[in-house]
Amino acid sequence: MITHLLSAADLSAQDATGLFDIATQMDAAMTDREVKKLPTLRGRTVVNLFYEDSTRTRISFEAAAKRLSADVINFSAKGSSVAKGESLKDTALTLQAMGADAVVIRHPASGAAHRLAGWVRGSVVNAGDGTHEHPTQALLDAYTMRSRLGRLDGLSVAIVGDVLHSRVARSNVVLLATLGARVTLVAPPTLLPVGVAAWPARTCYDLDAVLPGSDVVMMLRVQRERMDDSFFPSAREYARRYGLDAARMARLPDHAIVMHPGPMNRGMEISAEVADSPRSTVVAQVANGVSVRMAVLYLLLGGAR
């Protein structure tokens, strides 16, 4: 198994499938039991190093580590030595001196997790670096697809919205391609990255044309904080062309599911009606996130070093 989880490309199909099988057992261990905690990582320390605001990812990693009995240290850049100008490397060496066995890092700069992996002895888990990757999100998305639809191989997955800024989309494309799913990226041309032709995915500008043949529709959040340039004329026009509402949802096959990595902009990329429909897996994704991250921490920290 791997030492770090920096990119979805670090995982082979076999690695990912093995990880999902372990996540399934973690799931089972957290339900129908008197004690919802496992002693597996007792005495290990996991540091959550967050340079960007994040609620669900940080809490999810914290819950995962605690359910495996690891000690968790939360470090957020706000109000810390980073605000006083400390570099990432110095922060990393400090954590190293404190004996962190794993560092979970969220950073606004693409490649930050990769740099960190060269500086610390413990395992590094990328929890989102800039617009680059967010591998555990891709894992929990694929795990959710597998548990709802029973397979990944041959699934048609549409990823819709701001692909340009989305690390979720990047990691998902890589992982889903590894696992044999067919991915279609749907976005206005301004929100597709340069070089997207080299990705293992098709692209399309017309959401309505893609929906009838999709098993999974993954709506990406419109990242208002990154929308300082004019990528589309108006929010209303974006919602009309690329938002998923009940009428559009009706074009999907009966078994298809609707996913969203959260946090959702209701009324923008997804209507409230769709978000709360039985097809929506938003809540399941959050629950699965904990099981998948438990499996990741177990695989990185459970064995001999």
Binding site: D21, Q25, M26, A29, R33, K37, P39, L299, G303, A304
Partner: protein, 185 residues
């Protein structure tokens, strides 16, 4: 799971002998639990699981009583995880309907050696609930305990040296019923 035998293995128990031991343990369980009342059998993977099923089958034959069986995976509770290279796959844990609370639980494994697997199983069990009583059934007790653990039902005591390895093979998992003694590769 086939394993490459470095040294030639000696067969120390045959299928017939193993069948007699399972029969005897089934009788002993019936005796010690008042006809297997409120009793469940939990097999410890890998080979404890088919053994538990065989015991339940024999008990059904002898007394026409249904003893619920389940599986108790102890991987996440092992104390030697970090001593081993790489992480192990985690198997399923299935508990019969009704859970373990207030019941007599008989843990079933193939070989009792250091006792560390049983220690992990006891921890795993206490996270599932509070059994009224926990007992241990093993096919082979080979000694060399590292913890204060003692089986309640033993197929056969086989004194070994730590340099030897004892392999229980079962038709369900290995295609043949026999117990082999070999030098550790």
């Amino acid at each position: 799971m086939a394993h490459p035998d470095a040294a030639p293995a000696k067969i120390i128990l045959t299928a017939a002998e193993m069948a007699r031991m399972v029969d005897r343990i089934a009788h002993q369980i019936l005796e010690k639990t008042q006809g297997a009342r409120d009793t469940i059998l939990l097999g410890i993977p890998t080979r404890g699981v088919p053994l538990a099923a065989r015991l339940a089958g024999r008990i059904r034959t002898f007394e026409d009583t249904e003893v619920p069986t389940g599986t108790l995976d102890v991987t996440l509770y092992r104390d030697d995880l970090r001593l081993r290279g790489g992480t192990r796959a985690v198997g399923p844990t299935t508990v019969p309907t009704g859970g373990v609370d207030g019941r007599r639980v008989v843990l079933v494994d193939d070989v009792l050696y250091s006792g560390r697997t049983v220690r992990a199983a006891l921890d795993a069990l206490s996270d599932l609930g509070r059994p009224r009583l926990v007992q241990l059934a093993v096919l082979v007790d080979r000694g060399h305990r590292e913890l204060p653990i003692r089986p309640d039902y033993v197929g056969k005591n086989i004194p070994t040296s730590a340099a030897e390895s004892v392999r229980v093979l079962l038709a369900e998992t290995d295609g043949v019923d026999e117990v082999r003694l070999a030098d550790r590769p």
